[in-house]
């Protein structure tokens, strides 16, 4: 009966998700939702029977579920309505939705981990699924451990690490379902790791991305064409490239120097090329002018301080002299 309650709860949650969708849904999405509700209902009816309870206790292998095709899981999990459904103990809202087309492009899928059961070995036999440990990085990647530890060390200094709301792990940003090497990722895939959370869920300022970057003269252009980590990480000479890019910098530490990227000897250039970015160093005359030669490269800090300081002194001097003139003439 306990199972029944849980299933009812899940169904209720699914209905709430459906209800929040706009009223005039495209026909296709509507069909998907009907399909999901039907599937959940069937499981719900099944779970009521004593026979299912016995069945649930059997090991997966015995049930023959190990050979379960992806389609059986995706009948629920490919429904975008399952987005942002569960708050786990790490403080993060977890998507139950898996984009199966994107999954098929991931390195895990291509390296033979292409069935759900290859990693999710148990716990899904009842609805809602039992809390069960899926495979984590080190279960398979023992050989990468040294590299991973290096990454962990850098990630530990990331702005994310001090968060009291979310406990960060690899999977917080890197969904195993969509795992790819950086050079294989599209820009949208790279930036979705940041934007997925920082657009709505963790946006304290409530400002749009563009207005949060409005200090930049060409913010929209750069936000559309640049990886977030291009500015929000920084190369460190004694740290592996793969490691330091996990040390996400807060805005005060992120670079604001145009020529870090846009000059042939820019210090970010090699790094950006490594992560598959193509910084423009062969810009047209107009772009060079607009982008940095005037507004960025000429900003030599001591010169700016000296220049504005002397200007301020001149203004103070003029006012002081004027004031003394007025006072001197009043005396007379």
């Amino acid at each position: 009966m306990d199972d029944e309650k849980k299933a009812l709860l899940f169904l209720g949650r699914a209905i709430v998700i459906c209800k929040t969708a706009p009223k005039l849904l495209p026909l296709l999405l509507y069909a998907e939702m009907v399909k999901t509700i039907l599937a959940i209902t069937i499981i719900f009816i099944g779970s009521g029977s004593a026979a299912w309870a016995d069945y649930a206790d059997m090991s997966l292998r015995e049930q023959g579920l190990a050979s379960m095709k992806i389609e059986s899981c995706v009948s629920c999990h490919e429904n975008p309505g399952l987005k942002m459904a569960v708050m786990r103990s790490d403080g993060l809202l977890h998507d139950l939705y898996v984009d199966s087309l994107r999954f098929q492009t991931s390195i895990h899928y291509r390296r033979e981990k292409n069935k759900c059961l290859d990693c999710h070995k148990e716990g899904y036999d009842i609805i809602p699924h039992r809390a069960a440990k899926s495979l984590v990085c080190f279960d398979c990647h023992e050989d990468f451990k040294a590299k991973f530890l290096e990454i962990q060390k850098e990630a530990g200094q990331s702005v994310h690490f001090g968060s009291t709301e979310v406990r960060f792990g690899c999977g917080t940003c890197h969904s195993p379902h969509y795992m790819k090497k950086a050079v294989e990722m599209t820009l949208a895939e790279k930036n979705s790791m940041c934007i997925d959370c920082h657009t709505d869920r963790f946006n304290r300022s409530n400002l749009t991305l563009n207005s949060r970057h409005s200090w930049h003269i060409l913010a929209p252009l750069h936000l559309e064409n640049t990886a977030c980590i291009a500015c929000h990480t920084k190369p460190e000479s004694d740290v592996l490239g793969v490691a330091f890019k996990h040390k996400i910098l807060k805005k005060e530490e992120a670079t604001r120097e145009c020529d870090d990227c846009h000059t042939p000897d820019g210090k970010m250039l090699q790094y950006l090329t490594d992560i598959g970015e193509k910084p423009k160093t062969d810009m047209s005359a107009e772009q060079v002018f607009k982008s940095f030669y005037i507004s960025g490269a000429t900003n030599i800090r001591w010169l700016d301080w000296a220049g504005t300081g002397l200007i301020a002194l001149s203004i103070i001097g003029a006012f002081g002299h004027g004031l003394m003139r007025i006072l001197a003439h009043k005396k007379k």
Binding site: W215, F289, I294, A297, S314
Partner: protein, 208 residues
């Protein structure tokens, strides 16, 4: 040219005033747009960046031509003589004038080099204006045109050094701003605080 009447005499001809006020408005626009461009990283650009660049390019050209007007007019009208250094200027004249600004002016002393039809500028003014019009302004025009030719594609980026030139242009801009502050302030040191401004509008100077 009209003759001086009463105690007034013409010191700034219509052409003098024309180039001066074109320069005045132009340089103010150049400073505003230039600072907006240069400090856009910190100020967010108080003039929209693209607009500031357009203003700066256009006004820069106008001021360059205006400088040409100053040079040609002053050469052909022989008024360049007003700017010509004199053996009494250096250093005694300059020191005298500087002393006046530091002491005499507070005691309402008479200026040591009052304006006369034969003497438009005091020694300090003469040397400053000479430095500004013969060194600073041409320097800004040349470095500005260099960058303008590059961005318009009329000159090749290969073997160019935009960075150095733009830094020099910026240093010149700081200098120009400092000159302008001093220039505007010292313009209030006439008989009345607005006297010198009126002279640059009407062209006439009242006998001191």
């Amino acid at each position: 040219m009209r003759k001086a009447h009463n105690d007034k005499f013409l010191i700034a001809t219509p052409l003098d005033r024309l180039w001066h006020w074109i320069h005045a408005v132009g340089v103010l626009l150049l400073i505003a747009s230039g600072f907006s461009i240069h400090f856009s990283k910190y100020l967010g650009g108080f003039i929209a960046f693209d607009m500031a660049v357009k203003i700066h390019n256009l006004v820069g050209l106008i001021v360059a031509f205006d400088w040409g007007l100053w040079l040609i007019y002053n050469i052909f009208s022989k008024r360049l003589a007003y700017y010509m250094p004199n053996r009494d200027d250096l250093p005694s004249g300059i020191i005298k004038q500087a002393r006046y600004y530091l002491h005499g002016i507070f005691r309402k002393n008479k200026p040591p080099f009052p304006t006369r039809p034969s003497r438009k500028f005091n020694p300090l003014q003469k040397w400053t204006y000479l430095a500004v019009m013969v060194v600073l302004v041409p320097f800004e025009i040349i470095t500005g045109l260099y960058m303008l030719l590059l961005i318009k594609g009329w000159s090749s980026f290969i073997d160019s050094n935009v960075k150095l030139v733009s830094i020099l242009h910026t240093i010149g801009a700081f200098g120009t701003t400092i000159f302008l502050i001093g220039h505007i302030y010292l313009a209030t040191t006439g008989d009345k605080p607005y006297s010198y401004f009126m002279t640059m509008i009407t062209g006439y100077h009242k006998h001191d």
